[in-house]
Structure formats: structure tokens, C-alpha cells
């Protein structure tokens, strides 16, 4: 018989081992459907690894894909720390992207050192505003934020489609529903010429470090942790529970909004309704894999991005569907959830005596 004995504290190495182990277990489990589809398993994994990190170019592509995942991973991490279940990063990402083209595609004509910050701030505010509504509803009426944020995703996506078919449609785009391109002055700089890597990655890493400092070293971070761990005791101790939650909402929504700005102003150059292949949702997996640690979000995002990029290139080479990548991501979420059990409990095997 198996028994779970709660641990008093989880050592750091175990937390790390659970995250890494979950990734490995997910990959190993993926071998089963790979083998079933008749593909050469070892070769497929080799191709995946090569596609994700086999060359400077491949790894740059992985980092490019990781950039929005760091933002959405941070958005989920900070919200989940405070037990604010924000499932709406996808919508907040689109809100940020919409603000980016609204501000950066011709409305303002300013030099880059003014326009880039304005666009980024505008995008963050748009994402933040979108999450603030569910947070206020939760606090005022007890509305469940999971439902509200999740449903808002569809509202926002439909709104984006409406704008792209209507007022924001680029007349030069030969009828495609896409926005006018952002001005060169609003674009995030490329990091290395010839690669798609852009300034969004630097911003994402800066945000991760800033969030880490905020959560561990500041009074507001303390309040966020206190409210997340025991809101009742936090209220009893006179901590500003409502304001801490509102701050978490602003941070989380703002970070997701930056993901949208980074994709539009750093990579694509214009907005389409298929800007994000689910970055908002994948951010939840990234944050969970990182055990809600802002610094841990960076490697977790790179891993998930590597899986997507690697699976893409592998599927092109041996003709296996690239949905395999989604499978790995889903399996690693499941593995990390099971692994979290190992981190919180010691597993003791007991031989059952017969009476």
C-alpha cells in the first residue's frame, strides 16, 4: 500500500528535480504515440533536439518562440501566487496587441525612444484593464474569475476580428483581415541581424528579474504572498487585501499585454487574429513547470518553446503531425502536477499486514 506523508518543507533541489523530471517524463511518454505512428523513435527525438537547439539559428528560433511564453508565464505565475486564477492571458495578450497597433501604426509620430515606451505602456495598460474587471467583480460580487477571464478571451478575440474586418483593416493588404503595420519607430529592435530575435526577449528577462525582486524583496510582494497563502489571516493582520489583489491583477494583465506588444512590434509587424497559437494558455503550463517562480519561468518557457520548435522541424522531416508538440506540453503539465505531489509529500510504501 502507498501512503503520502506530508513534508514540512520541500528542499530546493527537489523542486528543481520535479520540474526537470516532469519535462523528461513527458518526453519519454511521447515515445509511445511516436512508436504507434510507426516513426523511428530515437531519430525523431534527435530531430526534435536538433530542431530546437541543434544550431545557433535553431536556438535563436526557440528563444524567439520563448519570448511571449516568458511574458504569459510570468502573468500566470504572479496571479497564481496570489490565488488569482487568471485563465485570460490569451485575451489580455490580444488586448495588448490591439493597443500596440492602435498606438504604433500611425496614430502617433514620435521618435523611437518615445514611441516604443508609449506603445509598451499602452499595451500593458490594455492587458491590465482587461484583467482588472474580473478582479473587481471577484472582490465586489464574488464572481468566479476562472469563468470570467476564460470567457473574456473569446470576447476579446471576436472584438479583434471585428476591428480587423472593420475600422483597423489595412486597405493595402489585398483584402486579408490584418491591421496596418506598426511604424518603424514603434518596432522593437532586432538583437542580431539575420535572426528573428528581438528586443522583446530582453524586456521579458528584465520583467522576470523585476518580478522576482518584487515578490521576494518588497513590501508589496510580501503582501501578495501573504494574501495568496492565507487571505483570512492577511485581512486579520490588517494587510490591504483588496489593493494587493488589484495590484496582482494589474501586473498579471500587464505582463500578458506586453506579450502581445512584443509579438506585434518585435516579430510580426502587424496584427492578425491568429497572432497567438495559444501563448496565453501555454503560459499556465510554463508557470506551473516553474513552480510559480519568476526566474524559473525563463528556462520553463525555453523548454516549452523548444518542444514546439523542435516538433515542428521533426514533423517536417519525418512526416509525423506536429500536434505531437501539444501532446508533449500537455503531458509535461500532467507530469509536473503529479511531480508536485512528490514535492509536497513523501511517499512511503507500507506492506499491508493481514489481520
Amino acid at each position: 500500500m502507498i501512503r503520502f506523508v506530508p513534508r514540512e518543507r520541500t528542499p530546493l533541489w527537489l523542486t528543481l528535480a520535479v520540474s526537470v523530471g516532469a519535462g523528461v517524463v513527458a518526453l519519454v511518454l511521447t515515445a509511445i504515440p511516436l512508436a504507434l505512428s510507426g516513426a523511428p523513435v530515437l531519430q525523431a527525438f534527435l530531430l526534435m533536439a536538433q530542431g530546437a537547439a541543434g544550431s545557433g539559428f535553431a536556438f535563436a528560433e526557440t528563444l524567439t518562440r520563448a519570448t511571449p511564453l516568458i511574458f504569459t508565464g510570468l502573468a500566470a505565475a504572479v496571479a497564481f501566487r496570489a490565488k488569482l486564477w487568471n485563465i485570460g492571458a490569451e485575451g489580455q495578450l490580444y488586448a495588448g496587441a490591439l493597443a500596440t497597433v492602435a498606438l504604433g501604426a500611425g496614430l502617433l509620430e514620435l521618435p523611437p525612444y518615445l514611441l516604443v515606451p508609449i506603445v509598451l505602456i499602452g499595451a500593458a495598460l490594455a492587458g491590465a484593464a482587461l484583467l482588472l474587471v474580473p478582479v473587481l467583480f471577484k472582490m465586489r460580487f464574488g464572481a468566479d474569475e476562472v469563468v470570467v477571464t476564460l470567457l473574456l478571451n473569446f470576447v476579446v478575440l471576436l472584438f479583434v476580428q471585428m476591428m480587423l474586418e472593420g475600422p483597423m483593416k489595412d486597405e493595402m493588404a489585398l483584402g486579408w483581415p490584418q491591421s496596418a503595420p506598426v511604424l518603424d519607430e514603434a518596432a522593437l529592435p532586432k538583437l542580431v541581424s539575420g535572426l528573428r530575435l528581438h528586443g522583446g526577449l530582453v524586456l521579458a528577462i528584465v520583467c522576470a528579474i523585476a518580478l522576482h525582486v518584487l515578490i521576494t524583496r518588497t513590501v508589496w510582494g510580501f503582501r501578495i504572498r501573504a494574501v495568496g497563502e492565507n487571505a483570512r489571516a492577511a485581512r486579520y493582520a490588517g494587510l490591504p487585501v483588496g489593493r494587493a489583489m488589484a495590484l496582482v491583477g494589474l501586473l498579471s494583465g500587464g505582463l500578458a499585454g506586453l506579450a502581445g506588444a512584443s509579438e506585434v512590434a518585435g516579430l510580426k509587424g502587424y496584427l492578425t487574429a491568429d497572432l497567438s497559437p495559444g501563448f496565453g494558455y501555454a503560459g499556465i503550463v510554463v508557470a506551473t513547470l516553474a513552480n510559480l517562480s519568476p526566474l524559473g519561468v525563463i528556462p520553463a518557457a525555453i523548454f516549452i518553446a523548444g518542444v514546439f520548435v523542435g516538433a515542428d522541424s521533426m514533423s517536417r522531416a519525418i512526416g509525423v503531425s506536429n500536434y505531437l508538440a501539444d501532446l508533449v506540453v500537455a503531458l509535461s503539465l500532467l507530469s509536473v502536477l503529479v511531480g508536485g505531489l512528490l514535492a509536497r509529500f513523501r511517499i512511503v510504501l507500507v506492506r499491508r499486514e493481514t489481520a
Binding site: 500500500m1 501512503r3 518543507r9 504572498r225 497563502e229 492565507n230 490588517g238 494587510l239 489481520a355
Partner: protein
Amino acid sequence: MIAPTAPDRPDRTPHHTRPPVLSLSGITKRFGNMVANDAVDLDIRAGEIVALLGENGAGKTTLMSILFGHYVADEGTVHVADAAGRLAPLAGGSAEAALKAGIGMVHQHFTLAENLTGFENIVLGTVPLWRLGFGKAAARSKVARLMRDSGLQADLDVPIGKLSVGEQQRIEILKALYRDVRVLILDEPTAVLTPQEADSLAATVKTLAGKGLAVIFISHKLHEVLALCERVVVLRGGVKVADRPTAGADRATLAELMVGREIPARERMPASLGAPVLRLVGVEVGAPGERDRLEAGDLELNGGEIVGIAGVSGNGQGALAALVAGLKPPRSGLCEIVGQQATRSDPRARLAAGVGRIPEDRHRDGSIGALSVAENYVLETIGSPENQRHGLLRRAAIQARAAQAIRDYDIRCPGPSAPIRALSGGNMQKVVLARVLERAPKLILAHQPTRGLDIGATTDVHRRLLAARERGSGILLISEDLDELFALSDRIAVIHAGHLSPAIEAARLDVRTVGLMMAGHSVGEAA
């Protein structure tokens, strides 16, 4: 039937010649380097009431948890008598096996489903989930018979969350009895009862034991142990240090066995009264129809005195505590706290006014389990300049002050960075006390400050509250423990059904009078 194997006619055999119904031998349990139980032997016979005494951390809870399958012993065996009276080994690590073998436990922290009714909680787990009808009428009549036989009365048809702590405990005991237990473990059962209720519980326990039930009684109230139990087993530091009949023992001997040293008598200075720190005139708290509400509170509390509030929980002391703590606003009446009129619910304003609050539930209100000892210590003062500068935490200063508090208050913990949930109840309460007393509060709300604590920790809390009183703090002590109220209070008021009696000098009251007032009699009737 409570004990199906018990003979119908009273068994005249002396207990010590009967075979044991439960036998623990050589039980050893280690957590890391700590030995929680060290080769403990324990035999319980049918019809016997055995007290299990020991300070927090002495290993009582661990021993009972092993018996009940929450932990698995590293060494040693547990044998339980089957229906025919033959001893058989009990499978370790299975609460189900313990229940099946007829062992029932009423935990100090209840294990009830709050959204189910009392009746549903009692039958929960005894009927398979997939059965649609389960002979509800039969179950109902069995519960009714148990209530009649045991004298345990409680409302069976409202959700547990709406019942008082006392009623919840009665449901817990009924739940165990419903399962036809042969061995019943009661962990601190009288902590929440009025003296009259405690007496009636004692009578109940004696009746049940007379029918053959073996009872393990865990309590810190030594006079109860002496009055109720025939035998007492004392644990200290995981080792059984005594196993003797209660006949011939007195409170002092038992206390010294538990603590391992003599307990100093408390000294108490006469009160020197300061300015009023709490003034209530016709205060009403909570909406009409709410269970725990204050209907009419008049009270004046001065600096330098302790006013005790006696009452069975659920009679309005929760509302009174919430008002003083700043969690609920007064609906009407005048409420003056440290010279300021309080009209809103605002915990921070109370803290700023100089109110220190010791909450009733230190796990839910008093501490944040995942945060460290140091972080819990500064929970209320995190915004003050000694803890932060420009919004950045002064981590070194916080750690240093917490380390100082750990020394000053003798908090047993791995260090200031350890999560507070790793601490025992007594040590957790010391962190709360350190937090409250550090600010030299003018008014202290002490709501059940020693609930669930052992003698050592209780003595410590009492000593510190008396010291705060001597420094001039006014203390509002809300407690269900009359010994505590009489030991500490200068004046005592009784709360019943939302009405607060005038506070009377403790010297002019006795336990019996207060007990009757707690049951709703006026001072005149009770005296």
C-alpha cells in the same frame, strides 16, 4: 449498541484481571532525528478510562495517530481484540482498519464536513455511496437513541458550519459512538464545554465505560483526569514516564510528572487602573438572525486590568472579538477603543490605535502557514520603517528581530526562516504573542489564548498576559476555560445569547455561579 460485545449484565470482574482490548507494545516512531515515541507500551482493558497526559510534543498525538492509522510506527505492534475478545494485530497505516477494529477518535481539531448536517456527518462513511436509500429512518433512530443514552444533545439538521464549537464536538462524539466503537479516544474533549456540560460528559463517559467501552482520555485539565479516570499514563519526550492508578495522585504530582520539574505558582499584583481603553455602550454587532451576534454590550475596560468574558462559544463572543479586532463594525451603540470612536471595520485602524489581537484560531487567522516564523512575526508591522525602506524589505533586520523574539519567547523552532506551520501549537502561539506584545499594546484582545495548549505553554501565555497587565495594558480575555478566567481576570462578565452581563469582581464569583450564568441564568438566580 455502543459496545456489541459487552455483556448485558454488569461485569463485576475487576478491570485489571480482564484481558486487554487494546495493546500497544514497543511503539517507536522517529521523524528525522526526533524520536516522537520511544518504545511505548500501553494496555487498555474493557470498561477502563485511562488518561493520557503529556505536554505538547510529548508524543501523545503521535501515539494516537499511529493507533488510528495516520502514521505508521517504525517499531512495535498494535493488537486489538476482535469481536470474540481475541487479540489480533492491527494493520498499520490504515484508518479504515482502525475503524473496523472498533477504535474511534474524537480529534481536538474536528474532522467534520462543514457543509453537511450533523446527521449526515454522523452517518458519513458508514453507507456505500452508490446506495440510494440507506435505511435513513433506522439510522435516525439509532442516532436518537445514542443521544438519549449519552446525553449528548445537538441540532442534527443544520449544516455543521452553523453549529457552535461545542455542538460540533458533540456531533464528533456521536459520530464515533455511531460506529459501535470498543475503544474511544477523546482528545481534549472538555476544552469547549461549560462546567455543567463537562460534568455531564464525564457522567456520559462513565456510563459508556460501565457498558464495556474502553476510553482513552487526553486532557490537560488535571482535576478532570483525577475525577474521571482510574489510571493515568504520562508521556514526556516520547517516553512513558508513569503508568499508575489515579488513586493517591494529586494535581501537583501529575503536573510535575508531565513537565519534569516543579511548576512555579503565579504571583499576581493588585490591579492599578489606568485610563479606559475599551468602552461599549449598548453596542450591537451582527445582523439580526445571525448566530453569533452581540445584541447589547455594555462594558468598560481600563488599562491595567483583565476583564474575562465567560460563555459557551456561539453566544456572541465571536462578534465581540470581531468588533474589537476590527473585523466587524458596530451596528449601533457607542464603541470607544483607546479613546477613539470605532464605527467601521478596519483592522489596521485598531492596530494603529494600539490594540493587540490574539485570535481564537491561530491557524486560520493568526498565522500564514507557508510563510516563515520571521515573516509571521512582522505580519502586522510590515509597513513600518523598521521592516522596510522605500518599499524594500529590510530582510536582515527582520531576521535579526525575529531571532531575538525566538530567544525572548523561547520559541522552539528550526530558525526564523522555518515555515510557521512546522511549529507546534504552543510555539505558534508564542509567535503570535511576541507579535502582539512587541508593540506594547494599550488594549489586548485575548480570544481563547490557550485553547489546545499544554500546561507549559499555557503557563507561559498566562505569565505574559499578567506581565502585560502590570505594564498597564487592558486585557479583554474571552475564554471558555473557567480555570483560566478565574486565574487571570480581575472582573468577569458572562455572555449568553448575545447579552453581556455586567462585569463582576472575580473574587465575588465562583465557578458554579459563572457556569449557571453561562447557561442563561441571571446573576441573582445563579448566586
